[in-house]
Amino acid sequence: MSLGNLSDLYRQLILDHAQHPHHRGELANANQTISLNNPTCGDVVNLSVEINDDQIKDIAFSGDGCSISQASASMMTDLVKGQSTAQAKKEIATFLEMLMGNPDEKDVDDLGDAAILATVVKFPARIKCATLAWKALEQAIGEAEKK
């Protein structure tokens, strides 16, 4: 029984993040909390972020979802923790473009581990899983900027 291009989707790095996600939990001193769900499958991401002086001081996530959504959230939190909100917004845009199949090779390099999620493009039904956490962060930053 051939498992075809499955290992394209589930690279070891992705499985590692999914099984041992980084920054899982809730922040005691979050000033932004956002829950997003993927209504198609029921994946949920609860993001808690501490944003001060236009900087992501700390970030954590909880919730429930498939290995792609969990790994993606883990990789994202690794990437943006400590970044300025401007920088994080740029990373989010790069990531979402990549998942729409229009990767900007230069920028994609900046995404760290998350760059590996480019392979999800070949599995259209899983794209929403990969983008859920990033869209939550986008909203969280948007809310923070409103204040």
Partner: protein, 408 residues
């Protein structure tokens, strides 16, 4: 023409294809069924020879189209043991249920009245009642399930009272596979004077349904789940209740007389069928019913029982697989919902797809049930008349492959 269930697979062109280099093992029949050649041919024939708008035309094509359309209404009526004027065509089960909720429920409900539904309802038989409850000030109450995944009939009995105005429940759960004792439930509801609405989306096409025997007040199902085209649904209603029920859509064809400020409607079923109906889809539905009858209920029921039992057993034999819903041997329909511990259903479904096995992963539009079961999502394999033991073996092998791949 009598068809043989053993070769039924060959009647469905889509099943001949390969998916990811594997034979297609289509196990998402509860979402939508595939279409036999006869249904596709009926659609093609309609568009190539008879296409015209119905009821309004004096010319040959319009007569042909009208005759076929009304012929299918009679056919559906026979199929469910009802009268032709008790059969309304809609877009699907969802539309049928919304029309009952808004066109009938909202008319008869008073503040303080109670609507009883069950925790195993599909959102399509749940959200419309939430909305109507909100609109009318009625209260929405839930029948719970037992540990076995059956409706708690004792608690159902306790819920029923003089304030119960409408009871709405599914004939078959699209997650648990439970076949509810709908005849008994209808009797109990009628005993307190409540109207009974049945969601038959997962029942029709799997076993005969009989409006006279059930004695329910409304019954809804979809064409696309009984081997017919998308875009067509059925609402059965007792004649005298359809007279009370108000149309929800207004327009051409459903009127008797329109003046500038006032409109007078036709009688049922026409008063509900506003504008150009899904004519080709009605005709395709007729071909689907013919097809089902050419195979025959006893062959369909026997085949689906065999396949479901085999799937249940083969999945149960895989360590780490948890199955939801009643045991085999209980009143249970043609689907098995399960989880593989430690692997999210989405990931399971993706692995299965690489093996050509199409199953559904998610909440199956039944979030309150998911919450009751304490899971956020599950994997579901659901069967149609063309599925066989080979399909089931492929399913089990693919689940074992997923287990291996994720090392759980």
């Amino acid at each position: 023409m009598v068809k043989n269930i053993a070769t039924a697979r060959n009647d469905f062109p889509i099943l001949a294809q390969k998916i990811n280099d594997q034979p297609l093992t289509y196990l998402d029949n509860a979402a939508t069924t595939q279409k036999p050649q006869a249904v596709i041919d009926a659609l093609v024939h309609y568009y190539e020879f008879d296409n015209a708008n119905i009821h309004r035309g004096v010319y040959t094509l319009a007569e042909r189209a009208t005759e076929q359309y009304e012929g299918v209404r009679q056919q559906v009526a026979k199929f469910i043991h009802a009268e032709s004027d008790e059969v309304i065509f809609t877009r699907g089960t969802t539309t049928s249920l919304n029309w009952v909720a808004l066109g009938f429920g909202a008319q008869v409900l008073q503040p303080g009245d109670e609507i009883v539904i069950t925790v195993m309802e599909h959102h399509s038989n749940l959200v419309p009642w939430q909305q109507v409850a909100q609109k009318t000030g009625a209260k929405l109450r839930y029948v719970e399930i037992t540990a076995d995944g059956e409706l708690d009939l004792a608690q159902y009995g306790e819920l029923l009272n003089a304030k119960t105005k409408i009871v709405a429940f599914t004939h078959v759960s699209n997650v648990l596979g439970t076949i509810n004792p709908v005849k008994k439930m209808t009797e109990m509801a009628h005993a307190v004077g409540a109207y009974v609405v049945i969601d038959g989306a997962q029942a029709a096409g799997h076993f005969p349904i009989d409006m006279v025997s059930l004695d329910c007040d409304f019954y809804a199902f979809s064409g696309h789940k009984i081997y017919g085209p998308t875009g067509i649904g059925i609402l059965y209603g007792k004649r005298e209740l359809l007279t009370e029920m108000q149309p929800v859509e207004f327009g051409g064809e459903m009127i008797n007389l329109v003046t500038r400020q006032k409109t007078d409607f036709k009688a049922a079923p026409e008063k509900f069928e506003a504008g150009t109906m899904p004519i080709a889809q009605v005709i395709g539905l007729g071909a689907a019913i013919d097809y089902i009858q050419s195979i025959g209920w006893s062959a369909i029921e026997a085949q689906e029982r065999k396949v479901t039992a085999a799937a249940y057993q083969l999945l149960k034999d895989i360590p780490g697989v948890e199955i939801y819903g009643p045991q085999i041997g209980s009143s249970r329909s043609a689907l098995v919902t399960f989880n593989l511990n430690g692997v999210h259903p989405h990931d399971v479904a993706t692995v299965l797809d690489t093996q050509g096995v199409a199953v559904r992963a998610g909440h199956h539009c039944a979030q309150p049930l998911m919450e009751t079961l304490g899971v956020s999502s599950t994997t579901r394999a659901s069967f149609g008349l063309y599925n066989n033991l080979t399909d089931v073996k492929r399913l089990a092998a693919a689940v074992r492959a997923a287990k291996e791949f994720f090392q759980v």
